[in-house]
């Protein structure tokens, strides 16, 4: 009996990501969820700009490439054009969603647009060569902050889940990680819930996945996971930040 194999929604090609990059794990989780929910035929993904720009080559569903940061706006159009038959997800990094695409993100959340957003936060611009991102930690050394991020000069990192949870709009916000098997299982559960919310017409669901960038952090893949646990998780605590349906049931 096969207990683990490559999901059908993930194309049978080698990924271009660096060794140990957790994008691959997150791609697989999304593909597994699409398989399990049986929505491959009607799912449309929106790829971002960044390392995961070529995500359109890796998913066996329809994919659209959006301009930098505009994935939620493109997804809005795709969803509204045929809300019954389209399941739309966006897959975005932190340089895409939390920087240039912040307006689109906040407004689609405020409108409670019925889409699913997978937000991969690795605290750095990966594709362009390791520059400081809006989510880089205070003191973090990057190409553009060689002495560490100076918060007097560059300000503080943006905590997207906490920020969006202040809005009345979004249905579901959760921060997960993929640094160990337990967290990967929890991440899959969160992604599945985000897709189910869309199928049930509940509205905007965002799953923030705290991720690694071994190459630009200058660490080995294993050390990068340790760094994530030591440095990133205290700053970006995991958990559910908003779940409107659960709140309503509780009342």
């Amino acid at each position: 009996m096969v207990v683990f194999e490559k999901p059908k929604s993930l194309a049978d090609v080698p990924l271009h990501y660096c060794p140990g990059c957790t994008h691959g794990i997150i791609h697989r989780l999304v593909a597994e969820v699409i398989d399990e929910l049986g929505i491959e035929g009607k799912t449309i993904g929106v790829a971002p700009v960044g390392c995961s720009v070529m995500a359109y080559d890796y998913f066996n569903c329809d994919m659209v490439e959006a301009a930098h940061g505009r994935a939620p706006a493109v997804a809005t159009g795709l969803k509204r054009s045929d809300p019954e038959n389209h399941i739309v997800f966006t897959y975005q990094g932190d340089g895409d969603l939390a920087s240039i695409g912040m307006a689109e993100t906040v407004h689609s959340a405020a409108r409670n647009e019925n889409i699913t957003v997978i937000f991969v936060n690795n605290a750095i611009y990966g594709m362009t060569g390791g520059q400081m991102a809006p989510t880089s930690l205070p003191g973090q050394v990057t190409q553009t902050s060689p002495y560490g991020r100076d918060t007097d000069h560059c300000g503080f990192p943006i905590k997207v889940c906490e920020m969006l949870s202040q809005l009345d709009g979004p249905e579901y916000l959760e921060r997960v990680s993929v640094n160990n098997v337990k967290n990967i299982k929890a991440a899959k559960k969160a992604i599945k819930k985000a897709f189910e919310n869309q199928i049930n017409g509940k509205g905007f669901s965002l799953v923030e996945v705290v991720s690694t960038c071994p190459t630009n952090w200058g660490l080995t893949p294993v050390k990068a996971l340790e760094w994530l646990e030591e440095k990133m998780l205290p700053y970006y605590p995991l958990g559910v930040y908003k779940d409107r349906s659960a709140q309503k049931e509780g009342e």
Partner: protein
């Protein structure tokens, strides 16, 4: 008995599976180089494998298939 197979051509030698294996029976084969130029993962003792699929869960490149 559990059986684990690897598509070594796709392996990037990141070592996340080696770290995740509870039985510590996976290694990066230092004497081999795959098409991509990495040292691919290798099973040292199939008998000890319990088929937990932790390695496959951690693998970013989805090269591992686990059967039980």
């Amino acid at each position: 008995m559990a059986k684990v197979s690897f598509r070594t051509d796709f392996c990037k030698g990141c070592g996340l599976c080696v770290e995740a294996c509870p039985k510590k029976i996976l290694i990066l084969a230092k004497d081999k180089i795959n098409k991509k130029g990495h040292h691919p993962v290798e099973m040292t003792d199939q008998e000890k494998c319990i088929g937990c699929a932790f390695c496959a869960t951690m693998c970013p490149d989805c090269i591992i298939t686990v059967e039980r």
